[in-house]
Symmetry: C2
Subunit: 257 residues, 2 copies
Amino acid sequence: MSGFQRYKKILDLFSEDRISWTVSEISNELKTPSSTIYRIVREMVVAEFLESAAGSYFRLGPAFIKYNRTINLSDPLIRAGQPFLEKLASENPIVSVNVLARLYGNKVMCVADYKSPFFKNNTSYQKGKLMPLIYGATSRAIIMQITGRRLDELINSEKFFSVDEKNSFLEGLKVDRKKGYCFTQGQVDKGLIGFAVSISNKKLGIEASLSSIFNSSDFLLEHEPIIYANLTSYGLLVEKYINEIFNDIQNYHHKPN
Amino acid sequence: MSGFQRYKKILDLFSEDRISWTVSEISNELKTPSSTIYRIVREMVVAEFLESAAGSYFRLGPAFIKYNRTINLSDPLIRAGQPFLEKLASENPIVSVNVLARLYGNKVMCVADYKSPFFKNNTSYQKGKLMPLIYGATSRAIIMQITGRRLDELINSEKFFSVDEKNSFLEGLKVDRKKGYCFTQGQVDKGLIGFAVSISNKKLGIEASLSSIFNSSDFLLEHEPIIYANLTSYGLLVEKYINEIFNDIQNYHHKPN
DNA sequence: TCTTTAATTATCATTAAATGATAAATTTTA
DNA sequence: TAAAATTTATCATTTAATGATAATTAAAGA
């Protein structure tokens, strides 16, 4: 354990399922002497990346709230896409959750979302939550834009039930690529269906998706063309804005002093 | 530059005003050879704390979105207070921005907020933004619960125009402490007024505030008792829930395996 | 396209810091 | 108040970070 990993391994212990750890628990988990962990934890507490809680427990610190704000102001996908999510929701024919998602390691992460006021169910897509790579329209619209060796590597990180399942998944991707959008039913959350389009920008290395998620009970076949039209047009709009942001940044940096 | 500081110094370069940096810019800024910076930046890119943007620039990475989610699920102040902000807004007599804030180093940081649907103005209080310690009701309700040496240290980190200003500030705190709430007018944003109460929990080390911010043009004197009653009752409610969360955590950790 | 320049990675001797066993101090619990 | 648990301090040893330089790769210009 060295370099930044030393710190990250500790931070990664803190999760939804385990929000606080003591030094001795960390020490056991990472098989590292507690004198070492104490030193590292103290450093991170000073930096507000960790915070001491009651009973000798520690939890993540408020620094992440601060950095998260800066991310929201600097990530071109979020900057370009966030403002359109509410509009997309209001133009959908039925109540929806609308999501911007992107790759995060071998997983997919939602980075922005907007839920229509009267949408009842909870979706698994929540800002900052990692989701499976191969299930759900949101994820499909991301991997369907990836090809060649990178696709292989990503796919190989997933466990398929059988070779057949894997092949039919890859075939499905080809079909979706031609159609230009993805549709899935209950793959992530039962009772929900998802539609998604790809969002990409080669220069900025953006591989993302824009998706709308509905209650399957609300959905009628006649809704599909409208949903598809909305996603497609807003998808293009987001890509256009990403491009504008890219140009803005270029100009900004090339300004003479 | 050593330990965690080495990484934090780089992360802290990224801000609202300067969202992306090149390695050579970082190298100049921190007076550290670029070969060293390259190595460190590469580590943080792998960890998704940084991300490469176009034109050899880097920006903050999506890891912060993930950790921010975990914070929202684990911070007792946010967990206890967030659910009440919308209710507080709906019970206020005029449109408002409602904020949970806490200490962050020598500054105050908003950690959760809710704006009524038709509130027009922008407040400076945004989730994750650092705000001055001595201006605005939101901040006052935090420092007014701090006394003795810690108060001195915090106050001394601030620049007052004069000794008089400092003394009258400290006198004002005493008055507010007796009143049990704070009121300020245009100290942070012109045209806005703020009311705030303290939120605290000794066992959990929480020093925070709950505040409502209004357009001064909307405000009538007859609103004050209602605003005050709302803040006080919701403040107590939040403190009660913080306590319950504290007990939950205690029970959870003391469960037999 | 080729050429030039800039960006990034690799190498490695030197320097500096992290480690972890132990002891001491502090805080919490019984 | 005593005992136990938590946290900090110390320091010889181990290990990793540093930064000058060279090599490679990618981007920008001609």
